[in-house]
Symmetry: C2
Subunit: 193 residues, 2 copies
């Protein structure tokens, strides 16, 4: 009982730290966030903060990881709602375009780039690429995609192209981006719809 | 004569500052660069450095601007080597893919993202988008591209998709990416080649 209470407490402090650092980064820019500001905003002492994280970059990396993990979980759910390779790929592509569309408003993309620059290994981002590569390889094997370019390269293309959704305002534009990107993949679904 | 000498001196100090900050950012990560380190590496005093730039972010922004300006100048040269809309677009797309391929090794992309996060206005990047949008609009008007998506949206797609070149190792893969991206644009050149 007691251990559970401590665990719950630690989790909630951790959440508060991640949320605080993220809010500060969004409001004032990543470069300006300090450990003192994070502690203050999270309502804890600096000494406590250092028991959780060594520096701002580690906090932002953890925050980013939390984001990507949740996106990944949702993508897996969506994939598993379909059984056909073409439907699976299309659903995942549409969902990822929407993620990119929304996250641009929260600056997650830029933060991800910064963390990569800082040589943080981003396992969840790698999982995302692996998930898409499997979907693309399956769709290619079922004859729904061009076969002159390997699935790994098509995956890199696809994820970058969908990233353009971050620069688009209208939801209709995101749908058009999905269509354009799928055309690049040579996507031909089995039943016209 | 005297003024020219002073100008030349100022330019060379400025270049040394930009190069030093960039090297430090590449070696140790953008977040760790300090004004003291930049001054030391550039071989000038801190007081002198502050006469040129107010902070590290301003130095990195100027360095980034220098990069993008040179890419832009080269793209305009390449465009002007051709007269037909389809050839112009194809050449520019190929060249930009190569820029993305090379700059990934230098971390420029990540820095650009960071600077955007910091709300730096990146005029040269905007010029790049404008240049591509003109090429795409011209090629579309000449019937070489799909006409169900506006040139502005196709430009956003195109620049993002080509950014995937940064994740590709082989030059042959970059060529395939160009082909895939052009297929997304519905590119059909006038003379088959």
């Amino acid at each position: 009982m007691w251990n559970e209470t401590i665990d719950a407490h630690r989790r909630s402090v951790r959440e508060a730290i991640l949320d605080s650092a993220w809010t500060l980064a969004t409001e004032h820019g990543v470069l300006s966030v300090t450990m003192t500001q994070v502690a203050e905003r999270a309502g804890i002492g600096r000494a406590t903060l250092y028991k959780y994280f060594p520096d701002v970059e580690a906090i932002l990396a953890a925050q980013h990881q939390r984001h990507v993990d949740s996106h990944l979980a949702r993508l897996i759910e969506i994939r598993d709602q379909h059984t056909k390779a073409d439907q699976r790929l299309r659903s995942a592509v549409e969902h990822y375009a929407n993620i990119c569309h929304h996250r641009a408003q929260h600056g997650t993309e830029e933060l991800a780039a910064l963390l990569h620059r800082g040589h943080q290994v981003d396992h969840a981002q790698q999982h995302l690429a692996t998930l898409f590569e499997e979907l693309i390889a399956d769709a290619a094997a079922a004859g729904h995609l061009r076969n002159d370019v390997a699935p790994a390269e098509l995956t890199t293309y696809c994820l970058h192209a969908l990233g353009a959704a971050g620069n688009l305002r209208a939801q209709a534009a995101v749908k058009r981006l999905v269509a354009v990107t799928l055309d690049g993949l040579g996507f031909s679904p089995s039943s016209a719809h």
